[in-house]
């Protein structure tokens, strides 16, 4: 009853958001002075007839409403236009790179959440200890230190000076064939970027976890759990954590966008073959269709992550289902 209507509400919200994003995406690129055809035409000096045909081809001769509808339909079908630079469909470019980005983002998220949670819990349980202070410090630093700079430093230190890690790429060239070796190779390449991301991110999670735990630990039911004779560990990880997780889930979902952009920036530093590098190149080459496509895909990911977080929240907190 309650759960279903809650889910329905969240899904509708997500759909509306996606729609607005698509509209924004469309509008922004139409706001551009000039249009892509004229850019090409200037560069290549086409005849009027060729220019007209190009307009037809790209559908740019139709009224704006028709263009919009066509855009929406195409986007929903997964077609994002052709990249100016690679001449291939943008969706193809994106699909090649998306798994790498997901790998990096996924690993970093999981690691930083786990580390952040544990650090936050311990920091709350032992106020004033070294862990407490470092949790707070890293929390602050995560907001102030640019992740791409940290990536540069790590690269400098561990890649150039110590030569422990490779300097670029997702895999070595040539990549090993055997799946186990390939996986190890990718992980070796992934270490530094993941390290940069986790260092920046875990502090924020630790702070939230810490604050939430501190709040929860003052609640009466925690004192009562102790009174019941439950050991401190179980009190922390079962009774307190379940309640402290709730604000955590909200924060994780809000921070996903932040994490994703951090990953994109880090990718450029390490030449990780993912969406981040794609953005860097697209900006340099003014490849607008690529930028449009990337923006859309990234938004999809963020909205999806938020939706998943909302659903997890509903599972965790029984109170919310009965609103």
């Amino acid at each position: 009853m309650g759960l279903r209507s809650y889910i329905a509400k969240r899904v509708v919200f997500a759909a509306i958001t996606m729609f607005i994003i698509m509209t924004l995406n469309f509008a922004i690129f139409r706001l551009m002075p000039g249009d892509p055809i004229s850019l090409i035409a200037d560069a290549v000096r086409l005849r009027a007839e060729q220019v007209r045909r190009l307009y037809e081809l790209f559908g740019l001769d139709k009224p704006i409403w028709e263009q919009y509808v066509q855009y929406v339909i195409q986007t929903l079908q997964g077609f994002y236009g052709y990249s100016f630079y690679t001449q291939r469909p943008v969706s193809q470019d994106i699909m090649e790179r998306l798994p790498n980005t997901l790998l990096l983002v996924g690993t970093s998220t999981v690691l930083s959440i786990i580390i952040g949670m544990v650090v936050g819990i311990v920091a709350a349980a032992k106020r004033g200890s070294v862990i407490d202070i470092s949790a707070i410090s890293f929390g602050f630093l995560g907001n102030s230190v640019p992740v791409f700079w940290l990536g540069l430093i790590l690269l400098l230190l561990f890649g150039v000076s110590f030569k422990w890690f490779p300097l670029r790429g997702t895999t070595s060239v040539p990549a090993p064939n055997e799946p186990l070796a390939l996986a190890a190779d990718i992980m070796w390449h992934m270490t530094l970027p993941t390290l940069a991301l986790v260092i920046i991110l875990f502090g924020g999670y630790a702070l939230i976890m810490r604050a939430a735990m501190i709040d929860v630990l003052t609640e009466d039911y925690i004192t009562l759990a102790r009174a019941k004779g439950i050991d401190e560990r179980t009190v922390l990880y079962k009774h307190a954590l379940r309640n402290a997780m709730l604000p955590m889930v909200t924060v994780i979902s809000l921070a996903f966008g932040f994490l994703l952009t951090g990953a994109l920036l880090t990718e450029t530093v390490f030449s990780w073959y993912g969406l981040g590098r794609y953005i860097w190149d697209a900006i340099l080459k003014q490849d607008y269709p690529a930028l449009q496509g990337i923006f859309f895909i990234i938004s999809v990911m963020v909205v999806a992550a938020n939706l998943i977080a909302d659903l997890i929240y509903a599972v965790l907190d029984p109170r919310v289902r009965y609103d």
């Binding site: 607005i20 690129f29 932040f258 920036l265 900006i283 449009q292 990337i294």
Partner: protein
Amino acid sequence: MGMAGLIILLIFALMAISAPFLTPYDPQYTMQLASFRAKPEWLDPTLPRNIFIISDPGFASSGSLSDWTIEVDGPSTVSWSDKEGYLGIPLVEKGSGAGSIQIASSTSKSSSVIAMEKTFTYRYSPPKRFSVHIAYKAIVEGNATWGVQVQLRQADRVVLTFWNSSQRSGSVDWSVPRPEIDTNDASLRFRLFGDILADATKVFPAQGDYALIILVRTETGDGTVKVYLDDVSARIWAEAFGYLGTDNYGRDIFTQLIYGSRISMIIGTFSAFIAVLLGLLVGLTSGYLGGWLDEFLMRTNDILLTIPGLPLLIVLTAVIGPSVWSVIILIGLLGWMGIARLIRSQVLSLKSKVFVEASRASGAGTWHIIRKHLIPNVMTMAYTQLALTVPGAIVTEAALSFLGLGDPFLQTWGKMLHDVQYYGAVTEWWWAIPPGICIASLSMAFVLIGYALDDIFNPKLRKR
């Protein structure tokens, strides 16, 4: 904690204000102060510094002749002239004005060789670049020829001829274009050393005494010739420059760092200001008026929160075109959502308290009392949020510049990091590390101040 933040902030503010005093260079436009990617001076004392061999290249006074050792072989005279002088090329190059060296050969049927030498001692490791500037003019009357050569005598007595005008007849006004005598010129390197990949290390391979020689040959038939020389300068380019070296265009990195503080603080505070202003407006309206407006505003708020910020910024900046103001406004436009929520909840809780009180007071005074009570309470939160939003703005600007979307005419710290990445200068840690440290420190300062403000204004939250 807040004290530490204030101190750091003060340091940066001082840096920003006294920037012109700390470094004499304009960070954007003063290029080619030294070789590209020069190292910091303290890193390696053996690396060459900028050496300007001639102290008075414009020959502004007659005394400047004394710098040179002049040998005249033949019936010619060398004197200082204040009538002729290289005036430069309009809009391209400044001339040195009146004052030049005059070499006059008036005796007919004679030939002369005039050698002007400037010796100097070179004490560094071999440099990568060496360039010479010279402007000449010749007035020929009748039958006469002239020629100018630029040479360098190395420490081991070998003489390299860098440039030869070859014997010419006929007058020529101040040489336009100027001869390019620069080891950066591949053809020169090939001509001198037979190797395109050589550089000035072959010109000054060892420490010792070197001499710059300007050779003028004249031959008079039944005419006279006067050769004028001006703007004679020779330069050994530094491989070590300044506190932090130079970037890919020869700009001083230390200068960029110092000036970057101005821009970062301006962008950070302005963007945060816009965000807080918007947040205040939306939060106040939403919380106070309630109803469908509240619902609508908060829904918009949530939707905008979900849209990933940096990608949207990237797309917008790529389309609008990067410039300082677009960056400031866009960051501000995308940063008000969290603040609006906070302000709104504050307003809601205040509303229930104050409203009751106010309604007891005279009915007409309700608005005023609410304004008087609401606004000050909300303002404290606004100040705290202002401080806490600045770091995000600074880092976002850095990220945008890093990607190449910042104002191309502004060397912000983020742009410096972009250069590091773009030119593959990861190994140059003096270039890569400082901008990041500055970004982090300045942001930390605001974070510390923000939390200190939070402590001051919300002491009840501490009691746990």
